[in-house]
Amino acid sequence: MMSFYNVLGRYKNFDFERFFEQTSDESIQRIIAKSRLTELDYLNLLSPRSEIYLEEMAQRAHRLTIQHFGRVIFLYTPLYLANFCVNQCVYCGFQIKNELKRKKLTLAEVAHEAEIISATGLKHILILTGESRRESPVSYIRECVEVLKKYFTSISVEVYPLEEHEYAELISAGVDGLTMYQEVYNEEEYAKLHLAGPKRDYRFRLEAPERACRAGIRTVNVGALLGLGEWRSESFFTGIHADYLQNAFPEVEVSISPPRIRPQVGGFQPGFKVTDKNLVQLMLAFRLYMPRGGITISTRERADLRDRLVKLGATKMSAGSCTAVGGRSDSESAGQFEISDERSVAEMAGMLYGQGYQPVYKDWQML
């Protein structure tokens, strides 16, 4: 099977501007009605011209989401284990040049945070670390998983890219999901934003989801950090990455996240603007392209916007989030970025029920 790196290579010199100039109302209308979209159909729906068809796209996306997922939103929450990091990513609050209190949770602290979270009823957790093979090695992550599986039935990791055998090690310890954001798919932009550290290896990161799938992961979630690159092409690459993974690993549940960059320690200003309208367009286009693909919306987004995204293709949302290490028991700790939606799990559940949606706390049973 060809790597996604090679698939992406086909678009190396692709002229997006020119493609968008050639889209027509007729083709967009035809695409919205199709049951199976091609890659370029998807790109058509990401075009500036498609913006006038957002309502039509929304109607179809809404129906497709209900058909395939029902009136439900899956809930999860992130847990930051450690913020030690050797990378210099200009946009990240945890990067090596930023001065902040570095910390990693002890296993007792992991258990304490797990108790606080599981009291909310959540059963799905996403654990995060910065990239430091010295401070937060795979063995440390595995030990944390061993603790967490007493409290949760599904554990996903959002950590630095690993080798296939390391993914296999975490999977056998109880991990079933992987989140891996490429940050920016445009390779030149990527080089400009990642100044130092192992994360400079674009390809090793890009192929991490493939390695995790080969190791037997159940779910993968990919995405670009919106604001770091031109959103239309970045969303296109995210979508075809998801499609590639679904084709190569049909048994895996594939989803995307469209995280928009947030203010953080260091004060990085994103080079590209991504409006609410842009965010909605990319969600709708993706839903039409991959009707069964998940769309995860984090607390980076405002509460009022998240409420509306429930009916625009979202399938999974975080709740009761905190981006600081140990932040649920220690409010002094600095987070990776500022969150926008501070509602508790119970408040999120109330909002969902109010919209005629069921909050699902548990959707996997560790085997």
């Binding site: 209900i66 439900v72 049909p250 048994e251 895996v252 548990k362 085997l367």
Partner: protein, 256 residues
């Protein structure tokens, strides 16, 4: 006359089986089950959470129903077997609907792994109802493996596309000595009626009811359609003819 059928030695009097996913609230489930008159209700073990009573889907299935946990999420026979055992250990009983899906784009079942899981679970005393792509040879293997019923799909799960596999299901109904329960894809009551008219023992419906604007009303519509289809089957519908039969051009001369 009582019109019942048997699965795993139990008499089943409702030919409409229900799924419980996709509802806007678990609180709808008791009324939907009651309105549908269903006796067998399937739940995904992955959603069962005994630790959180208020959100535990299993707690919303009326106590007089047969709970049939399903193995949603299983990617091979081994995982299906583990899920079934976990379900039994969690007090969900001996019934299990096997779902082994290795294709997340269409959610089509993996017949080969399904046969393997059926064999193992039947030997462990489970009442096994395998969900499968309609295929006569596979259905025969499921019979040999000890399945209690066979559940062919009408069209892919959640697709609401109706009875697209009709001809293949008809063959299973004719040839397989177990109840044939059409599972997945039935989007409208008329399609459920069609399956019953063909002689299916029962149908299993989830998406069409759960995602309707009024799930309770839709449950009633399906109940009536299943009853109508069953009655029609028992009544023995007249043959359909391709041409009006006004004369017999080839054999008319034989009339005395």
């Amino acid at each position: 006359m009582k019109d019942v059928f048997k699965i795993g030695g139990r008499e089943i009097n409702s030919r409409l089986l229900l799924g419980t996913g996709k509802f806007s609230s678990n609180k709808l489930i008791p009324e939907v089950v009651e309105t549908a008159g269903s006796q067998v209700v399937t739940i995904a073990l992955r959603r069962v959470d005994p630790a959180y009573e208020e959100e535990n889907i299993a707690a919303y299935v009326p106590g007089n129903c047969i709970l049939m946990p399903n193995t949603s999420g299983a990617r091979n026979a081994g995982e299906a077997v583990r899920i079934a055992r976990l379900a039994r250990a969690a007090g969900c009983g001996d019934w299990v609907k096997i779902e082994v899906i290795t294709d997340n784009r269409y959610l089509l079942p993996d017949n080969y792994e399904t046969v393997k899981a059926t064999e193992i679970l039947a030997s462990e005393g489970f009442v096994v109802l395998p969900y499968m792509s309609p295929d006569l040879m596979v259905a025969k293997k499921l019979v040999e493996a000890g399945a209690a019923a066979v559940m062919p799909l009408g069209s892919p799960i959640g697709s609401n596309r109706g009875l697209r596999t009709k001809e293949l299901i008809r063959i299973l109904i004719d040839e397989i000595p177990l109840p044939i329960i059409v599972d997945a894809g039935l989007g409208r009551p008329s399609e459920a009626a069609e399956a019953m008219e063909m002689g299916a023992a029962a149908v299993l419906v989830n998406t069409a009811i759960a995602t309707a604007s009024d799930p309770v009303a839709m449950a009633r519509a399906f109940r009536l359609a299943v009853e109508a289809g069953r009655l029609a089957y028992l009544a023995g519908p007249g043959e359909t003819q391709e041409f009006a039969r006004a004369s017999s051009p080839l054999t008319g001369f034989l009339r005395d």
